[in-house]
């Protein structure tokens, strides 16, 4: 830059300042208003949206689909799309390193690279239009981030995937080439080059946005399933209790008192220390308990439960079980209010519903055995549908209004014998100890009333309360 240009710039600036204002008090109030508004927005976000819960990190669960902070999503999507390109897509470092580094160096050195002395928008069309296309492509890539890139049976990209590739890669790339080409022609075309650039950027942006909108309509983004995250202590205790009843009762009993295991194949008669005792609670820290659950007690007969060792429980879940055990059985701890979850029992004359009464009951007493992968005559009980439609004796298990239904018989302590052979078909349920009478009653009344799922259905079935005199 020549000295005369610099001088002109300084003189121009001094003239502008003459007509200008003072930082204090003319413009600082705007800064303060904006800062205060930002603060308010943050307080509102923190209060009404909060920070979404997430389970604890589990290094062994590599099935987890990683999701970076939203402001890195565009880069991830760019890498994923680039990887779909034939041939060049295999050279990962071009997209992962070379292109970002070139963009960054360009950004750093922008003031040195941009030798254009002009500042008005109409004379910087190249810089402005390139930036517009760049920012729009960033937005588009971010919006498409959770739409998968798929191939059909023959290995070709599906139509929505091709549209994504155009929106995120090809259209912007073509636009940069055209914009740069027009930039070289400025001398020849004059004013018209700038107009052509503005049109190019506009059309390219519209095309990218339209393609993205179409893809989002055609392939709605996948909903991520919510994972159970218990925050407060009472929530953790409840979650832990449910997990304990699914995974531990068969050996340690409802309340951790079992001393001799009964009814578990291969462990019949094994002596265990009651895990609710002071002995266990006082000598084992939370970490030790978590480790026992995680690694199991292999040589003594307790299998590992941690995902890392072939079990089903992640670190958060193991933590909840430990919290449940600690607060329920350690007499030095006081159980916080609202922490014990009780299974609701229907009132006199009320018809129980799956939603309110049966689901928690089954969860507590039956699901530990009646879920996939256990021995249970293929009778699964983890959802309403399953309860009604699975089981070797599905036609006889649950029959609306029939007191002789198998399920009602077995929970009342009867055994079902095979009508043909006469040997034992179904034992009493649960096999080791029957449920408390109020729960047996609840389950019985549910079947007698026709197994309503929702509370409203159950209410419709309940006899109308006698009209007041």
């Amino acid at each position: 830059m020549r000295e005369e240009h610099k001088k002109a710039i300084h003189e121009k600036y001094q003239r502008v300042l003459q007509k200008g204002e003072r930082f204090w008090p003319d413009s600082i109030y705007k800064d303060l208003i904006i800062s205060f508004a930002i603060f308010l927005v943050l307080v509102l976000l923190a209060t009404f949206v909060g920070v979404p819960g997430e389970p604890k990190a589990d290094p062994s669960d590599s099935s987890y689909v990683p999701k970076p902070e939203w402001y890195f999503l565009f880069l991830f999507k760019f890498l994923a799309m680039y990887g779909q390109l034939p041939a060049i897509g295999k050279v990962e470092w071009i997209a992962a390193i070379l292109i970002p580094v070139v963009v960054l160096v360009g950004l750093f050195l922008l003031p040195l690279l941009d030798r254009n002395l002009k500042r008005h928008y109409s004379r910087r069309t190249l810089a402005l239009t390139v930036m517009v296309v760049f920012v729009v492509s960033m937005i588009v890539l971010t919006l498409l981030a959770s739409t998968p890139l798929l191939a059909d049976d023959t290995g070709r990209m599906t139509l929505p995937t091709q549209m994504q590739m155009w929106a995120g890669l090809f259209v912007p790339a073509a636009a940069y080439v055209v914009l740069a080409g027009l930039g070289l022609l400025v001398k020849k075309l004059g004013e018209r080059a700038g107009q052509a650039q503005a049109w190019t950027a506009g059309v390219a942006s519209l095309a990218m946005i339209a393609l993205t909108a179409a893809v989002l309509v055609m392939v709605p983004p996948v909903e991520v399933e919510e994972v159970l995250v218990a925050g407060t202590i009472p929530e953790q205790i409840t979650a832990g209790q449910d997990l304990y009843f699914i995974h531990c009762v068969e050996c340690h009993g409802d309340d951790g008192t079992v001393t001799v295991i009964a009814g578990v194949e291969g462990l019949e008669g094994t002596v265990v220390s009651p895990i609710n005792s002071q002995d266990v609670m006082y000598t084992f820290t939370d970490d030790t308990l978590a480790n026992i659950i995680n690694y199991g007690q292999q040589d003594l007969g307790m299998q590992p439960f941690g995902v890392a060792y072939g079990g089903e429980l992640g670190p958060s879940e193991i933590g909840y079980i430990v919290t449940f055990m600690r607060y329920s059985w350690d007499d030095r701890m006081e159980i916080p209010e609202g922490a014990v979850s009780t299974i609701p029992v229907p009132a006199e004359g009320e018809v129980p519903s799956y939603e309110i009464h049966i689901q928690p009951l089954v969860q507590r007493y039956c699901v530990s055995c009646h879920r996939a992968g256990k021995e249970n005559n293929n009778f699964l009980m983890t959802s309403y549908q399953e309860i009604l439609t699975t089981g070797d004796n599905v036609d006889l298990n649950i029959v609306a209004g029939d007191m002789e239904a198998y399920l009602i018989l077995v929970i009342n302590g009867q055994q079902i014998l095979d009508p043909a052979m006469g040997d034992l078909l179904v034992d009493q349920m649960p096999p080791t100890r029957l449920m408390p009478p109020e729960y047996i009653d609840s389950l019985t009344r549910w079947i007698m009333a026709g197994m309503p799922e929702m509370a409203v259905e159950a209410q419709a079935l309940s006899p109308a309360p006698a009209a007041a005199p």
Binding site: L17, D26, E69, W93, G319
Partner: protein, 219 residues
């Protein structure tokens, strides 16, 4: 009385000169787009303040990081508010700094004599993203763990020295306690120190050259 006190202090501290240099500066007629820089500064300070409060309870170890965050959210009075502000503040800061950059770009304010202001600004943008990246791991939850695993893996694509960079970031071949302590010290000491230094330089340059005017037809 007040006048006397002020004069006494002014004589020693140079309050009047300070006032002239920082607040009583002449500026071209501005508009609301000029507030984004100071909004970035405000967010930086707010992140610093809320971060210091979070530090009181946060423990940077894989065994306790997650639980200490749970504790902050559920047990500490107003812990949820402080963490909520810090969480959303990070998001907003990235957004505001980026839009600030766009406005500077669009008004061509990076041209002579403000080239250095821009170059330092790009450094600030990178450091802000670095703060986001390192802070993301600290709660040690599934999302954080796996996003960081993939994020550090990308560095592995650098030809020849990729492996080295990845293991330098992670402090080993896998994410571990070492990774957490590296990210933690980067997040609370190294990057903020760099950021405050560069913000100081950025703002010094802005005062020195003055706020640029919006370009008109002759520019």
């Amino acid at each position: 009385m007040w006048k006397k006190l002020f004069d006494w202090l002014d004589e020693r501290l140079g309050l009047n000169d300070l006032y002239k240099a920082t607040l009583d500066r002449p500026e071209p007629k501005g508009n609301w787009w000029n507030t984004l820089g100071s909004a970035s500064l405000f967010l930086f300070l707010l992140q610093g303040a809320t971060g210091i409060f979070l530090m009181v309870y946060y423990t940077p170890s894989p065994d306790h990081a997650y639980d200490s965050i749970q504790y902050i959210m559920n047990e500490v009075a107003f812990g949820w508010l402080i963490r909520g502000i810090h969480h959303w503040g990070a998001t907003l800061m990235v957004l505001v700094v980026f839009i600030h950059m766009l406005r500077v770009f669009i008004t061509a304010s990076y041209k002579y004599p403000r080239e250095l202001t821009w170059i330092i600004g790009v450094g600030l943008l990178l450091l802000t993203l670095g703060m986001g990246f390192t802070g993301y791991l600290l709660p040690w939850n599934q999302r954080a763990f796996w996003a960081t695993t993939v994020g550090t893996e990308i560095a592995g694509a650098v030809p020849f020295i990729g492996e080295f960079i990845t293991s330098a970031l992670r402090g080993g071949s896998d994410l571990s306690a070492l990774t957490l302590s590296r990210f933690f010290s980067a997040h609370i000491w190294m990057l903020p120190a760099l950021l405050s230094g560069l913000i100081g330089a950025h703002i010094y340059l802005i005062m020195r050259h003055g706020e640029s005017a919006f370009p008109d037809k002759d520019d």
